[in-house]
Symmetry: D2
Subunit: 395 residues, 4 copies
Amino acid sequence: MAFHKIINDPVYGFITINDPLIQDIIAHPYFQRLRRIHQMAMAHLVYPGAVHTRLHHALGAYHLMQLALKELISKGVEITAEEQQAAQIAILLHDIGHGPFSHALESIMTKGMAHEQLSILLIDELNQEFGGKLELAKEIFNNRYHKKFLYQLISGQLDVDRMDYLTRDSFFTGVIEGAIGYDRIIKMLTVHEGELMVEEKGIYSIEKFLIARRLMYWQVYLHKTVLSAEQMLQRIIRRAKAIAAECDEPLRTFIHNRGENITLEQFCNMDDYDVLMAIKKWQHHTDQVLSILCKGIINRKLFKVRYMPEPANPALLKGLREEIMQQTGVSLSDAEWLAFDGVASSTTYNFEEDHIKIRFKDGTVSNITAVDNALINENVRGNVKKYYICSLRLG
Amino acid sequence: MAFHKIINDPVYGFITINDPLIQDIIAHPYFQRLRRIHQMAMAHLVYPGAVHTRLHHALGAYHLMQLALKELISKGVEITAEEQQAAQIAILLHDIGHGPFSHALESIMTKGMAHEQLSILLIDELNQEFGGKLELAKEIFNNRYHKKFLYQLISGQLDVDRMDYLTRDSFFTGVIEGAIGYDRIIKMLTVHEGELMVEEKGIYSIEKFLIARRLMYWQVYLHKTVLSAEQMLQRIIRRAKAIAAECDEPLRTFIHNRGENITLEQFCNMDDYDVLMAIKKWQHHTDQVLSILCKGIINRKLFKVRYMPEPANPALLKGLREEIMQQTGVSLSDAEWLAFDGVASSTTYNFEEDHIKIRFKDGTVSNITAVDNALINENVRGNVKKYYICSLRLG
Amino acid sequence: MAFHKIINDPVYGFITINDPLIQDIIAHPYFQRLRRIHQMAMAHLVYPGAVHTRLHHALGAYHLMQLALKELISKGVEITAEEQQAAQIAILLHDIGHGPFSHALESIMTKGMAHEQLSILLIDELNQEFGGKLELAKEIFNNRYHKKFLYQLISGQLDVDRMDYLTRDSFFTGVIEGAIGYDRIIKMLTVHEGELMVEEKGIYSIEKFLIARRLMYWQVYLHKTVLSAEQMLQRIIRRAKAIAAECDEPLRTFIHNRGENITLEQFCNMDDYDVLMAIKKWQHHTDQVLSILCKGIINRKLFKVRYMPEPANPALLKGLREEIMQQTGVSLSDAEWLAFDGVASSTTYNFEEDHIKIRFKDGTVSNITAVDNALINENVRGNVKKYYICSLRLG
Amino acid sequence: MAFHKIINDPVYGFITINDPLIQDIIAHPYFQRLRRIHQMAMAHLVYPGAVHTRLHHALGAYHLMQLALKELISKGVEITAEEQQAAQIAILLHDIGHGPFSHALESIMTKGMAHEQLSILLIDELNQEFGGKLELAKEIFNNRYHKKFLYQLISGQLDVDRMDYLTRDSFFTGVIEGAIGYDRIIKMLTVHEGELMVEEKGIYSIEKFLIARRLMYWQVYLHKTVLSAEQMLQRIIRRAKAIAAECDEPLRTFIHNRGENITLEQFCNMDDYDVLMAIKKWQHHTDQVLSILCKGIINRKLFKVRYMPEPANPALLKGLREEIMQQTGVSLSDAEWLAFDGVASSTTYNFEEDHIKIRFKDGTVSNITAVDNALINENVRGNVKKYYICSLRLG
């Protein structure tokens, strides 16, 4: 009897594992660690259901990869058993390099190292541990494999990563308008000259996918309160580094060494729990800025955010800081931690990246932005910026 | 104990009737007749789940009206008990004037009379029957009541009619990308200077609503096969009129008299069943055109549709007709019934109608098309046309 | 490129057709006719969403058959490509012999012939039409094939027919408590000594399935108002036969000939539309009983039903009939059509049929009723009867 | 404009807060702390979606209380505005006394104190903080208020607590067979002589509710792997206490002081994060038992569980322990921590508690177990026990 395990998933029903190697990768501590990293960092402070984990997302994307490969094979695209296994492993591990609170802390925790680079390092290590069985997965993940569409399924404007996170985040937040019809999109996939494309009948589903993504960005990922909490979280780590606040290992090394000389193992011992426990302690730190920020996160007393179409007037920021100085007694330089401006941006469609391509019945190919009556066309600003001011609420 | 009935609805869970007058209207034969009219005419030939009825849609829109009124009242908008009852009755009856297969046959069955006009006549009659208790409902329905927002909830670019049919049609077809987040939209409604508006936080939900509508039009309502079936249906009725084909009353009067001198009661005796039964019989009619069209509908042998960006080349149509003449032996004038061109169009946003208005926190008001980074802006073609050729499939 | 069609289904997402023969069977007029037969007869008078068709159910059961076969194959059960095709065809056609309003009229329209027998005749005919390609499907359908589990998937206490109708009827009525977790049940299926069994881990899902069925019977299929409408429908046909009421062909032959000498083709020309159109006409019939019954169905003025644990007291019935005679002026023998008693019954579990068997990890096999702490055990009455009186509501 | 906040919930759509006092209670750090306590402790190790929090459950139960009160009021039950507010507060706070990993650690962390007792203490404290405004909520929560049905909605065999946790746990695990039709049950509630009852029409929904609960217990809450993880978790805390393992405050006080002399504030500073961080550290503890248990939880290397109908044979346990001693080198007394037996039990229906009562249309009242053809009757064992052995997996 063949190897066969099923996992219940509220989003897709059941996820099937039918390959012992994949089962072993899932069972590996590096992968299990993703259970302790929230998929959506602090978004649950606004959407209480959004507490799902990176592990769940990785399994979901893996499931969609299975569906997509099956669909392409049924359409006559040649994909060997080895390539299937490798593509499934690659997507399973695509986020393995995420640290605590993923994107929210990415730029701060592991200076100069995106999670994709860490993923590559970790895939390398796992490859060694598994006796070279992840070689092809690595090649695909690094876009060095000749069947480009396999890479595009993992990383592109229409990859299974995005399909899963939009579907899953929409599901767990309860923002049902973010639902994307992933199954229809997958049914519309095709391969032409080695590239991933979409059949003509799928045009509206793709437009819908792009608009759902836009909606999820502004309504959820960049929701004022979420933005506030994540900015506060970043400042907590930065402040802790600045004052070399005490905490336990392995986080201590990161805070004190500024990310240098850190081993992969140390990195992998860290997750949301380490950071949140430090925050719980720092609530009582003698540094007032750190303490204010930490209490804010723990008790959900979040800074106020105002969005505006233009960069904030410096006078406005100055006024806020002065008020904060008066009411809390902090210095001006400290007040800058408690009132600050910034810019949030979201890309509905990246006109410079590889385009999403539509393959028509007559054999012609067109970018999604160039079809008749395209919704996403050169007149729509692909990238939208919103400026904001974020500041401590005063009594 | 108060009057209280509940109806199970797979879309909303439960629909509540808590007003005996409304219960009596629902129980009236004119309303019950809507059970025998498909909400989506022939769409079930492509989407087998789409067999829901006009009655179900009317109940659904009534439910959303209840929610919307409750929401507005909770925000301090003044709406009396009488106005609530009237608005609920008006939406319940908004489609009461639909004939067999609703929109698909509207222009043909009741020449020169849109279903809205028939709805007005029928509401009038019901008002008399119910001793004038529908007077206020009539005023609102006819947009003669001073609280304009009540009319806008029934008929406008953001009315509960559209909210229900998009939600319901998306549900029953299984095209989940058409889901619109009706509950969030309703939570975002507000009234300003007597007009229905949307709060700032609802912008993305409204954009999403418009895009979902666009998708539903092209993917469902104007799906090639649906278009084909509905064009065939129209031609069946037109041909039957042209040759005065025999059928039973009350349909006979419509077919033979061309819609003149028809009583409301005769109209109300007619539903999808009359038309479909006639089609079943006409399969065996001696008129070959009528017989071909009718067999096509009953056995789902539908004409082929090709969409094209420009009007069809006349030579193409001519070629098709000649082939049909050869293979079936019909005359040229008859072949014109079996191969024809046309244009389908869908309005993503009507820039000339009353705009959807956004009310910002600072008190300003803006059209949805004029907010920062509007997705639906002057560069998007509000109305999109697609030309088509529709013709009998040849062996 | 392989043959590949998809059908949207709100219940399962997508249903896939990947076999040209199956596509041809679906396209056949006999199968398309199932579009015009309601799956749940008159249940939509209580549950307005329950207007789905026999065709939709047949497609759904076919989809579950695909899943079940795939699951068994993945567990090492040997099933050839021919057997897969045949099992899929057999389930697709399992209800092909249903007449107008299916079960509600089964005993009356086609006297002495259950729909299963008609299905056999029709499968025979289709087999001839398709050049013998349905031979194996026939054998399986008739339980003459040596791999018994294939038959059990089509007809047994745990077949895909029941799984689909419970799932689908629960979905379209909105009675979500009827949901059965069909995907989990399918994942738990196994074959042992040629018989279909359930893995140990599936015990609770099976119990849940049986209880959901019990709930659906009493809450939906035998709901008082549904029972009333279906009893009225039966009496309409019986009365029409008794007085040889006029109507159009092909129904006329059935009404006047009492079902003798009817060709299969005549049978297949008949569907819900024929019966409902006759009812619309008979509203104005001179026979008062027929007219009362028909107006009741069309305008949803349904008879009152009272359930009771014991057979009704004859005096109660007599009293009701006398009142009806007084108020309507009908004779006593006619009053018996307008007030009558009967018994409804539902089988939670049939202890005499083939049992549902559980296969334990240690290799032992046990009936679901005999496992430890079985919910459905000898102490639960497998079959429950409820007596009722059904009578015209008087003013 | 009235106070009005909405919270997105994937389960119910939107939860509404329209009372500033309730908003303040939700914003209180004691309530926000529930964000850091998993609703289902370790169940996510089997059902990866089951990471929802106690806070989410409390909000959900509060939402169902709103619905239930509204329903009862619409049926003429007298409930004042103060009583509504109090009942809503009482349910919001019903779980406020839960400690880390709730039930899984309840008996161990706070010896001799159930979470309900701690909830009472905390409600008392909050009542003082809010100037006595929670007085009536307290009375209801403690079942000292004369309108008993308000207490029954909070704690009984059919309370909104159970309705929410079954609905929510079914949703997040993806075990859809656990869905209970909460909205129908609520529509069926009524009050008779001060007691909560269910209308006759709701019988099958209640049976379904009890069976769904039974299924959730055995399929989810007492799933072998979940049981294993939660037994390991308990032994970690017990072992840490036994050897006075070092960890940070506030957990340290609990571990070292055995729960004596602990302030409420100390208790409220503790949540899942404290315990999990200690476990992360103790992976490297010199005590081998503690280290094995902790590594098992963190890396999901869980003990093996076998269920059996009778208590385990002592010889079997002895054999397992000897093998463990051999392979790991631990002493016999330590091996008892790594291989042990126990009993799990689940109550489908408690025949000794207050019964669920059905009120019939004729005014009579009957226990759900005593209605005709009751599914849950004296022949069904209300409480089911399963014995198990749980032991370290050996290489």
